[in-house]
Subunit: 220 residues, 2 copies
């Protein structure tokens, strides 16, 4: 994972959560918010939130809180989403289709500009306004347009090969939906989306009354 | 977030990643793995991995490493996925459809048993082997079957209402795909899946040569 001088990655990882929460508050008509209120929503301490934001400047006024609109603008600038990023998606299955129809990308700084697959039955079909292209054209397209963000929506067995092709072509940030840890050069960002990981995190806390398996007994 | 005695939630959050990685190694034919190898794949220190696993017992042999199959079995037991959990999905749009077609649920301990929507055009339709049911029947179904895990695949404006209905009916763990922080009683687990958060985490590190916005200058 590439890191910028000074700011810990764990701080960076929380900034999008602050932005999401602030946008949620803005839609609810909230104009000012305290670090205490933000902390309650996000299950973080007010001190943690102030410390995180202080890496980037002085955004709040003592005793008054943060101006929601102003802080949104600043976080969008810090996260480089005060612009629209083009993204490509490889994999035109059910997941690729769901991504094409996801309305949040456009309003949060991201636009899917190309969709690829290797299945002849899918290539050439129009899905959600984009024509599915042969994945063999992907490297050339990426180089030509200078695209930097790629989404991997293929099955696990194909994910590493697709990632390699993307990275060779110049993709610098990968959002991977395949349940695999990719081997990547250090300059490439990667983030994984895996519902299984989140579900298993929760089932740890779900004890089953029908069995003797409960988490408390496991820690002994 | 409910917590078990002793084990920090941040430790629990890493266990599914270990399990995913071990399964990936198992499919590649690996039988023994050291904490050093696991650490390299997961970008964690070997000491961290050993410390995490030591909360639950002695799974490795000094100098020999972990038996991959054995550690998989143990982690499945610890995470309570040595069984199959029934899940319901509310929202039969493109996302709900993608979830129904996601092959990883079944092989990792989860099975979608019911799909709900409030759209008359969708109710009664057969999607991926399940008939879409009217969301008004959801609370009764949940109570009758004792289902405990719910997936929220509705737009943001409907997510809190759906969550409330699920929790009232007895759902104890929510996987939320809507870009919102839910207000929930403390006994309910929740995990969010939001690609925007992951993308914005990465764009922080993507400096744009066409503008003067670069992360390094922001930290000064």
């Amino acid at each position: 994972m590439t890191t910028q001088v000074g700011v810990p990655d764990v701080v960076v990882s929380r900034l999008p959560l602050y932005l999401r929460t602030l946008k949620q508050l803005q839609r609810a008509g909230v104009q000012l918010v305290s670090s205490k209120q933000l902390g309650e929503i996000l299950d973080l301490t007010p001190a943690q939130i102030r410390k995180d934001l202080n890496w980037f400047g002085e955004f709040g006024q003592q005793g008054k809180g943060y101006d929601v609109s102003y802080l949104i603008t600043q976080l969008e600038r810090i996260l480089h989403v005060d612009r629209v990023w083009d993204m490509i998606v490889v994999g035109a299955g059910a997941l690729g289709l769901a991504l094409l129809h996801y309305p949040e990308f456009e309003v949060n700084g991201f636009r899917i500009v190309a969709l690829y697959d290797n299945d002849p039955a899918k290539i050439g079909r129009d899905l959600g306004g984009l024509t599915v292209r042969d994945v063999r054209h992907m490297p050339e397209d990426v180089r030509q347009h200078g695209w930097r963000i790629g989404v991997i929506a293929v099955p696990e067995h194909a994910a590493q090969d697709v990632a390699n092709l993307m990275v060779e072509a110049g993709i610098q940030a990968l959002l991977c939906y395949a349940p695999i840890i990719l081997a990547l050069p250090p300059h490439v960002q990667v983030q994984y989306i895996d519902p299984i990981v989140h579900l298993q995190h929760m089932t740890y806390y779900l004890t089953d009354p029908a069995t003797s398996h409960n988490a408390a007994s496991k820690t002994s």
